[in-house]
Amino acid sequence: MRLIRQILLRMLTTAVTLIGVAVIVFVVIRVVPGNPIAMMLPPGATDEDVLRLTALYGLDKSLPQQFLIWAGGVLHGDFGTSITSRQPVLALVLDRLPATLELSIMALVIAVLIGGVVALTGTRSRDSGIEAAIDIGNGIALSIPDFLWGLILILLFGVLLPVFNISGRITPSLPLNFVTNFYLFESILRGRPDLWLDLISHMFLPSLALAIPLSAIIGQVLKQSLKETMHLDYVTLSRTKGYGENHVILREALPNAILPTLTLVGVQFTFLIGGTVIIERLFSYEGLGNLAIDAVINRDLPLIQGIVILFAVIFTAVNLVVDLLYAVLNPRLRHG
């Protein structure tokens, strides 16, 4: 009963959030200066041309009217037509989504790996010079934003020591006969190292740039949580049984220290996804973020709306997954 009420409440808040996002974006992009129609037309176009096109895209109607028309379409799965490319927004956006998801997930995996190793190493050598060095490293990683890390990485591993690709998602001359747009997942599942190695070579630097700040957060928070757990009685009791430091950290402390870290990682992961917008631009990576910047530059209103709504849906989904994971990992919630 309680569970059902919680689920209903959750769905309701999600719906309200999405509507709120839609309204705000709708209003803001129409209030900021810049006329999409004027930008589409060649310099010699007449006022009549402008009026005709404005009416075609429904931009002559009042704001509430425009919103209702748009929202009515959305309820039928129609997010409108992109002004610049004249293709359905939904198709354009879904086409790019996999690229961004793959980049974000790769960044998350890298962040968890680096952050995890940092936290475990820091816990093992707590209160020593090594821990102090780790704290300093984390501080540096955190105080430089992801796009600056992107520039630094481009300089280091794209220019000075060119071991990775710094532009695009895949080498275009490769045989690109993908069924889905999840290039990385698909090429791994199909056992095509020629493809996935090339993809990773393209994705590594941008995902690393996205991952560095998050890995510092994971490293710091998980280390703190582990250190607090290491003082608890059950950890001490396990030492008296004959277990050494590694076992005690991994088996006794880690499972309990992960929980407080998890919620935070969820929130931070949504920030990371937000970071893809600039990082994709920086690395000319053909994902949603790059599409979003083009849409904003061209004042492609329907496309901007579609992309923002999609990002909002992704953020909500991430939060939902985190809550579910929390429930699964916490035995106290698992067994009422």
């Binding site: 209160d127 009685d233 008296t240 049984k241 277990y243 050494g244 499972p255 067994h335």
Partner: protein, 290 residues
């Protein structure tokens, strides 16, 4: 030969030189129960932790020996010391609510030492766990072994911790105020249980408490600690007839009597504290000179 022999064990707070244990000596023979009493902060738990190799990082042992079965633990390399302690000693902790890992099932927390440290077959260890739960009078052992700690009451968890402590047939058990965190109604049962288990298994038991009433019921030997120093080491029966040291006598006078719980309690007199402080200072000076 006593199973546990501590000789002149000294420990201090690292970097500060603050002594926490002052040339502590005590022995516990197989089948014997020794009480370790003293006021809060006297260092009772420190001694238990030193034996079990779980001293806080801030505390360093500065001298002495801890012999388990004649082998000085302090001379062994860490891995070997841990194994030896795990195989022959065990702890019954103070607070059953915090001493079990909340994310692991009870069964694994009883059998882990048997399987990982002592190399038992898993099936044999599980059979042993069921047997132990029956021994500590837990009904439905199967269900309990599959449970997580939060599904069980405090008294139940303390029974489990006792079972777990006896799992590997240790020759020494350190019980650090094993009943203080429990309901008064449960305290007596748990005390009886520890006593019965100790007697049946013939284990040496070091019983840390500041309740002399409990000492009179459970222990045969007694060490009285003040500021990390043993001020009296004695048999329990003569102690209650008439303690030798003025501080122990004052401590005894400060304990409520079961025969007359309403009798007014005497706080330890200032003069006695002064005297025992001087004694500690003298001992420090002698130790400093040689």
């Amino acid at each position: 030969m006593s199973f546990l022999t501590i000789r002149n064990l000294s420990a201090e707070l690292k970097g500060h030189g603050v002594p926490l244990l002052r040339r502590v000596s005590l022995q516990v023979a197989a089948g014997e129960v020794r009480g370790l009493v003293g006021e809060s902060g006297a260092g009772k738990s420190m001694i238990g932790k030193a034996i079990l190799g779980i001293l806080p990082r801030a505390v360093a042992i500065t001298g002495g020996e801890i012999l388990l079965d004649g082998v000085d633990l302090l001379q062994l390399p860490p891995a070997q010391r841990r194994r030896r302690i795990g195989a022959s000693a065990a702890l019954i902790p103070q607070d059953p609510l915090t001493a079990l890992n909340p994310s692991r099932r009870i069964g694994g927390q009883i059998t882990d030492r048997l399987v990982d440290i002592l190399g038992w077959q898993r099936a044999r260890a599980e059979a042993r766990a069921r047997e132990l739960l029956a021994e500590v009078q837990i009904a439905e052992p199967e269900r309990v072994l599959r449970s997580y700690p939060h599904e069980l009451s405090g008294g139940m968890r303390q029974r489990i911790l006792i079972a777990s402590a006896f799992a590997a047939e240790p020759r020494l058990i350190v019980a650090d105020e094993p009943t203080t965190a429990l309901d008064v109604t449960v305290q007596k049962q748990i005390l009886k249980l520890i006593q019965a288990m100790q007697a049946r298994h013939g284990t040496a038991l070091l019983f840390v408490t500041h309740d002399l009433g409990v000492v009179s019921k459970v222990c045969q030997k007694l060490s009285v600690l003040y500021a990390g120093m043993v001020v009296e080491d004695t048999e329990v029966r003569p102690f209650f007839a008439g303690p030798k040291h003025a501080y122990s006598a004052a401590l005894l006078a400060a304990t409520p009597k079961y025969t007359d719980p309403a009798a007014s309690l005497q706080p330890v007199p200032e003069a006695v504290i002064e005297a025992v402080r001087r004694e500690v200072a003298d001992a420090d000076r002698r130790a400093g000179h040689g």
